[in-house]
């Protein structure tokens, strides 16, 4: 693909002129919402704005809406070149679910007016979106959701409660599934509404999780309002819009989570550090060694499968049902790794805080705990298996009785 060479050179040039060296290799932490060194925070904002000015935070989105207008091959070059200089793209992090889920769905289902009003904010990295899907009584059985929206002539009036809205307390907008017709089959009376979070009818309460942090909220709607022109897709067709959005979510989750420890030790190196090795360089615990080998083989197989499915789908960027296979496989890779690392660390792998443990050790524990959510969110492990059984294998539906 020699025709990409000029573009690669252009990207490399632009990066060397625009990427602040202070951010090199810093990863996501300068964008994590925690205040750091003033200079780094300033540079983080500068980098966000420079990247957004080229639309390269959302590289494949239309240029006239603030995206980069690149094709997939060019986007890959951009990401490779950024990786080379130790730069990350902060826009998807800053936009919450705007970059990975809501944005792609607006581009697909939205009116021209909706695209013009919502996409540029996501591209800038300044507008964060959250997602109002789950409710206390609608988890895996999402279609049972009860949050209600009434057409009040001038606007939609929304009442109900959402849960697991990630980042609701720091988001400016929310994409919510709401009930707009209670008289029909539950999937046929749902709509997708977009609403502002900063209004009197919306209240958020962070939920403290087992890992200690509060990345999720309960969100209460008491006569909250949404504009009439912020209905995404057709009235009562929210189930298909919402399902499509989840496919985008799954597609964004097919890569296994990056390892959390900054020093970048491989699992086998980490295990050797804590467990020791025999005179032939083998891990001293042969049982653990076998299970780590199995895990690494599965990790490799997962990576090869992501690449194979991408190659087979070449020229067809449609999100496929295979995403469910990859999500479950990625889940296994991440959770297995966290368990094996913890096991290898022994008593050093049970720390919560304090100076008896290194930062990396604590981070492993917290990561292991928060990673338990991977097989729950975005359609649980079991829901993905339902999808594979029904959509790929053509087996009968098991969850819709009556």
């Amino acid at each position: 693909m020699s025709d990409l060479a000029p573009f690669r050179a252009e990207v490399a040039n632009w990066l060397s002129d625009n990427f602040p060296q202070s951010l090199k290799g810093q990863g996501i932490s300068p964008f994590g919402g925690v205040e750091g060194e003033a200079e780094i925070d300033q540079d983080a904002a500068l980098w966000r704005d420079r990247l957004a000015s080229r639309g390269w935070g959302t590289p494949t989105w239309p240029a006239e809406l603030g995206g980069g207008g690149l094709n997939h091959a060019e986007a890959k070059v951009l990401s490779e070149e950024m990786h080379k200089v130790g730069a990350i793209n902060p826009i998807p992090l800053l936009a919450g679910v705007g970059g990975t889920m809501v944005g792609p769905t607006i581009l697909e289902y939205g009116s021209e007016d909706q695209k013009r009003r919502h996409i540029p904010g996501i591209c800038s990295g300044k507008i964060r979106w959250c997602l109002g899907y789950s409710e206390p009584n609608a988890g895996s059985d999402l279609a049972s959701l009860a949050t209600k929206a009434e057409d009040n002539g001038d606007y939609w009036l929304i009442n109900g409660q959402k849960v697991w809205t990630s980042g609701a307390d720091i988001s400016q907008w929310c994409g919510a599934l709401v009930r707009t017709d209670s008289s029909v089959k539950k999937r046929d009376g749902i709509s997708f509404l977009m609403l502002k979070m900063d209004q009197p009818g919306v209240e958020t309460r962070p939920i403290k999780l087992i890992a200690g942090a509060s990345p999720f909220c309960e969100t209460f709607f008491n006569d909250a309002k949404a504009e009439k022109n912020d209905l995404l897709g057709n009235l009562n067709d929210g189930w298909s819009v919402g399902k499509r959005l989840l496919q985008h979510e799954r597609a964004s989750q097919t890569g296994a989570r990056p390892t959390s420890n900054k020093v970048g030790l491989s699992l086998q190196q980490l295990a050797k550090q804590y467990v020791g090795e025999d005179d032939q360089g083998r891990l001293s615990d042969p049982d653990l060694r076998t299970r780590i080998a199995s895990h690494l083989m599965h990790t490799k197989a997962h990576g090869l499968t992501v690449a194979r499915i991408a190659a087979e789908a070449k020229g067809n960027p449609e999100v496929s049902a295979a995403a469910s296979i990859l999500k479950n496989s990625a889940t296994r890779v991440s959770q297995e790794r966290a368990e094996l690392a913890l096991e290898a660390m022994g008593n050093q792998g049970v720390g919560w805080e304090g100076d008896s443990f290194t930062d990396d050790e604590i981070e492993h524990v917290r990561g292991w705990l928060s990673g338990k959510a991977i097989s729950i969110y975005g359609g649980s492990y079991e829901i993905q298996n339902n999808i594979i059984a029904k959509n790929i294998l053509g087996l009968p539906e098991t969850t819709q009785k009556g």
């Binding site: 594979i388 059984a389 294998l393």
Partner: protein, 373 residues
């Protein structure tokens, strides 16, 4: 595979059609019932040689088609689907690969054309005990260049009764007197060679072969650039392609049954316990396929990570075929236990090929070593 070339697609289509029409499981069953010592029907083998499959790997300069491992894998997978018995793997894949890796130009000129046309069955004799273990070969080639003597015992030699030639894995001393593993070709009917059929549960042809003071021509010692580990990588990867085919067929049979068998007034595939099991098996099959395809490509490209990918492919395929063949029986219930039904053939074949050239445990260990722990 991202995309098949036109030629590959043609070869695959041909293999799909041939296996379906000419090599159904009823043919395998007939052979099993008849109890042939060869472990395959000679007419099946001639049909395969006429299709050119025996010469797929052999370079054009030596009378073959030089098509490479990825293309060969397409055929092996289809043969695996119907458990088609033939000496293709033992001779045209492993025997040919051994010569291509280890042979001198003279040896290739002399031996490869007849392997390619299927008239010579060149079979590698490796195992000396119940478990695959290249580290414990006792068979030796001794003597001076003009009077070489081969002595040792080999067991579970694939197609050992049908072989016209053996390529014997043996310790061979180099000029400095250090022994290393190499290959020695002998005619199967040479004086001092005794073979005995071994009846295995997959009804294929195996033999225990003893080499008692067998005189070897110096021209038949293969000490080229080859590396015996690499030859076993070829064996593991190509066998994985065949095993993937067997596992895929077992999956298809199972899925079909889940969609047709009714109990409690509904098809049993509608029960979530079985639907989820099918989903897991299918996902595992997709992962396994990626490993096999990547390893075949690595062989064709002679990449540095062949060993790692070969252990990944053989290890993963062994695990998956093991589970799939067990679930084939379990999900079919009572009918799966009957000899009249074909499920048992897959289960019996599975355990044999799982053990060949290193089982899953062997390859996990090897993968761990390759990964530095």
């Amino acid at each position: 595979m991202a995309a098949l070339s036109e030629e590959q697609q043609m070869i695959k289509d041909q293999a799909v059609a041939w296996v379906k029409e000419q090599a159904p499981l009823t043919t395998f069953r007939a052979m099993r019932d008849q109890g042939t010592e060869l472990g395959f029907f000679p007419e099946t083998w001639s049909a395969m040689t006429e299709l050119g499959w025996s010469g797929m790997l052999v370079p054009e300069a030596y009378g073959g088609a030089g098509l490479g491992y990825q293309t060969l894998g397409l055929v092996l997978e289809q043969l695996g689907r119907n458990l088609v018995p033939s000496p293709l793997f033992a001779s045209s894949v492993l025997g040919a690969s051994a010569l291509m890796q280890f042979g001198s130009d003279e040896q290739k000129q002399r031996l490869l054309p007849s392997i390619a046309d299927g008239s010579r069955l060149m079979v590698v004799a490796m195992d000396e005990g119940p478990r695959f273990n290249p580290a414990s070969v006792a068979t030796r080639l001794l003597g001076s260049p003009d009077s070489l003597i081969l002595t040792g015992e080999k067991c579970f030699v694939m197609e050992g009764m049908a072989a016209s030639d053996f390529l014997v894995v043996a310790l061979i001393e180099n000029d400095a007197g250090d022994p290393s593993l190499g290959l020695v070709r002998v005619s199967a009917d040479a004086p001092g060679i005794h073979r005995k059929p071994v009846k295995t549960m997959d009804s294929r042809g195996y033999a225990n072969v003893s080499f008692d003071q067998v005189a070897v021509n110096g021209l038949d010692v293969l000490i080229g650039e080859g590396n015996i580990e690499k030859l076993f990588d070829v064996a593991g990867v190509t066998l994985s392609a065949e095993m993937l085919g067997s596992a895929a067929a077992a999956f298809d049979m199972t899925l079909e049954y889940l969609k047709t068998r009714k109990q409690f007034g509904q098809v049993i595939g509608g029960f979530q316990a079985l639907g989820h099991r099918a989903a897991s098996l299918y996902s595992e099959m997709e992962l396994t396929r990626s490993c096999v395809e990547a390893a075949l490509a690595a062989l064709d490209q002679d990449r540095a990570d062949v060993a790692e990918l070969a252990s990944l492919a053989k290890g993963k395929t062994s695990e998956f075929l093991h589970e799939m063949s067990s679930q084939l029986i379990q999900i079919h219930g009572g009918i799966g236990m009957t000899d009249e039904f074909d499920a048992g053939f897959y289960l019996k074949r599975a355990r044999v090929v799982e053990a060949a050239f290193g089982n899953a445990a062997y390859h996990r260990d090897r993968f761990a070593t390759a990964s530095g722990f």
